[in-house]
Symmetry: C2
Subunit: 183 residues, 2 copies
């Protein structure tokens, strides 16, 4: 099939792009927002549109975290050993602006995931394997694709590694006793 | 990005391949199997490995349903209006054997989904959006890719349309009062 896309060059290109996305998604939970994006409204089914987990503060923080980390990447870019690559790499020009877009897209995708979970009557925090790991990634890449050229292969490799990284991180958190459950 | 893959030609090629997969996945629930694939065993976490929903009869039925529908496609192939296409289509040569493989792969992927749900302590039948719609598809395409050449684009288009078709079917079932809940 397409196993050949799973190579180190595509991986490096994809990881470069995803760092601000992971940062936004991973850091936003430390913000305790109070203003829900859905203003506490219910949907036709009588359930919350998104629920109290999606806040305006969270959206803003996602943009800021994405922007900061992307800016750090931009600063680091000239000092990284790109010449080690045997093929020319397609490294997205990183900037605070693109980072903010990536962070916003992550929040938007995560909100779509919450919308789906609420429709299925899943409570806030209830695990939705795959959806939880892919909503923010797909949202971020789709919105970013309006502004930058995103390779198909990045999308695929990130869709495969993101759930694996997420679950590994959860298991590490559990073993370190930071988390109660291994997910 | 890659919006250009969403065209009618790729869609026709992909739907041709996915019909036995949908058939296997959609028809197997009518089989009330009694022999669980996991032999009722528990995993390290004390929860069922797969649960009683995955049975040997189901696996066999999945292969048979896939084989039957693929054979129907094989018979229908010469009578279908392929010449209407403005571009040469890549139509996978369908056969009962390939159908059985596609059906088996669907069952295997579905079992992986159940394995993940059991690890997250989700009960049998609890909704897992995306995982429920993609586990059988990804399993089937991965296993089939050992035997046939599967285009990247088919994979993507099917990953996008399958959850949509699944949800549409659920809503229709709800409106027809066949199902109690709209999912």
């Amino acid at each position: 099939m397409f196993w050949n896309i799973f190579n180190i060059y595509i991986l490096v290109e994809a990881v470069w792009l995803v760092i601000p996305i992971y940062a936004a998604n991973g850091l936003v939970p430390i913000i305790k927002g109070k203003r829900p994006v859905d203003f506490g409204r219910k949907f036709f089914d009588g359930r919350p549109v998104l629920g109290p987990g999606k806040t305006i503060e969270g959206f803003i923080a996602g943009c800021i975290f994405g922007a900061i980390i992307a800016f750090v990447e931009q600063l680091a870019f000239p000092y990284l050993p790109w010449q080690l690559s045997e093929v020319p790499l397609t490294i997205v020009p990183m900037s605070a602006g693109l980072g903010a877009i990536l962070g916003f897209g992550a929040m938007a995708g995560d909100s779509v995931g919450s919308f789906i979970k609420r429709r299925l009557n899943l409570k806030r925090g209830a695990p939705a394997p795959l959806l939880d790991q892919l909503d923010f990634l797909v949202g971020s890449l789709l919105i970013a694709s309006v502004f930058i050229n995103i390779k198909f292969e990045w999308f695929i490799i990130l869709a495969v590694i993101t759930p694996l990284i997420h679950w590994l991180a959860c298991i590490v958190g559990y073993l370190l006793k930071v988390k109660k459950e291994p997910w």
